[in-house]
Amino acid sequence: MVDDKGAGAPLLSIEDLAVHFPIGGGLFSGKPLMLRAVDGVSLAIKPGESLGLVGESGCGKSTLALSVLGLVDATRGRVVLDGQPVGSDADRLAVARTVQMVFQDPYASLNPRQTVRRTLADPLRLHGVSNAGEVADRVAEMLRQVGLRPDQADLYPHEFSGGQRQRIGIARALILKPKLVICDEPVSALDVSIRAQIINLLLELQADMGLSYLMISHDLGVVEHMSDRVAVMYLGRIVETGGWREIFEQPRHPYTRALIAAIPDPLTRGHAREKARGEIPSPLNPPPGCTFNPRCPHATDHCRSAPPSLAAVEEGHLVSCWRADEFAPVPA
């Protein structure tokens, strides 16, 4: 599949990123365990592109997001955003103007004691917009863009519904005009009947403002709808990445196939044979060899001893599996 979005240098480049946290240890507990939250991830997002990141608990997607935001330091590898490396010694304010985040829970992501106006105007002032008139104009404009009225700016968060609060969260993320927005489960906490409103809004804003998205979600339907490229993450590693069509129509990695098979939707039902077995292992104690092997319906001894790495099965479609070539495309 030809990728026609944003030619040229990538906006975000994650190069062999690893983030390890020592857990426990100390005077009486002996050597600490290593939590390999992110264990060798390389990804890129071009300007204007949407990358969907799919994974379940323990896969490291939250830590990856924090690394991109510069809030967590890399143990190995690096994150380069708009040509500048991101990390604790980077210019905090410059990073804030380049990448922002939309949070999952609209009920916890707004300060209950601040009016909407203050929540949106403060960041502008922090970043040097001192003219009161300009601040007011930008706040009003942003509210209009997210589908709210400027006269609602002086209300408090509890006076809004969940969907409206999420719009305010989106307004806050976009007020500094960033280039990359990380959307962390942006609709999971919303009522089902209003999810479409927010999804449509995010896509509209992307087109209007030329944004790139890193869309983190466990809902494959949302990811398929909103992404140009998709990366599937399991226990700190990317197991498959490619264009949305390849990933969802011709998934090659058994975990990707298991995720699709697990969706209880009549459109995708029938892939029952591909379901994963057992529980997700703890990232503190990953299995040897390919980390997916205990749950994989196709694991062999080789899989249990040697960890595979990402290799291209076709142009732009990478899979980390010893047996990737053997898997026929799942019938549509």
Binding site: G221, P266, I280
Partner: protein
Amino acid sequence: MNANTEPLLEVIDLRIGLTTDAGSFAAVEGVSFTIGRGETVGLVGESGCGKSITALSIMGLLKPPLGLAGGRIVLTGQEIQSLPAAQLRALRGKRIAMIFQEPMTALNPLKPVGRQIAEMFVLHQGASWNEAQRRAVEALAQVKVPAPERRASDYPHQLSGGMRQRVMIAIALACEPDLLIADEPTTALDVTVQAEIVDLMKELCAAKGTAILMISHDLGLVTDICRRVCVMYAGRIVEQQESELIFNAPQHPYTQGLVASLPRLGMRARHGRRKLIEIEGVVPGITAYPQGCRFHPRCTRHTAICETVVPELTPLATGDSSPEAAGSLVRCHHHG
């Protein structure tokens, strides 16, 4: 299934009231459905539509400010909505069991899981402790917990979310109840674990002949497990159909709106990326239910009659004469 079999559970014109300082409100109104022996029925709706409290009322677990304000609940011919507490307790666990969304809060954190299962046998079947412990290990094996003898002495916090949910299912099905009520049992679980739990529930309940009342906001999940689905909105059932029909041919504008607004895997490949069809407005709160049809402010088809006259739940005219299709009902002046 023999169409003449007496239904296991009949809920008739259920009404649940909510009493606040600002007055009394009908949180749930006119809810009626039946569940046959071994049948699987789903109750679908968004948060606040009343599906969970409907389930709680069947178990007799409503607490103030909520209370049963009308209607009947009939379990194999016996009315149970006004039974004294002691008799209700005897029913719970033995004939009707319930599992919840968050097993960590539903399991006792201070007792090993094996013991919590064993208690069911002692309480409802008068088994001895030794016998009960042995059967508890068997129950853990039935819900596919690996190494059940060792797991039986684990505490809930030592188990993963999926394991805890399996323990809940083991407790619920221990005494082979006639009906299992499952309230969002997989919402807190990862997708792949969810799939396993769903398969487990289907398998076990089919084997034991237990009927299931499944409550969820996920229409896809419910249609996977259940034969028949009731869609609830703002305290009322607005549509009731066989699962296959609900997704492919929803009749109520709300259900249609839901199905059309969800981004479903496979749609983009088939139809390209289209703008999702939004349902305008927000779900009304209990204290502000609209007059007439409660969905009318958000409905594209609403007319004057919708604002004043509450539509009745009426059967659809379908060509199919099977018992399932005969149960197809819609509450709308302009359905179809």
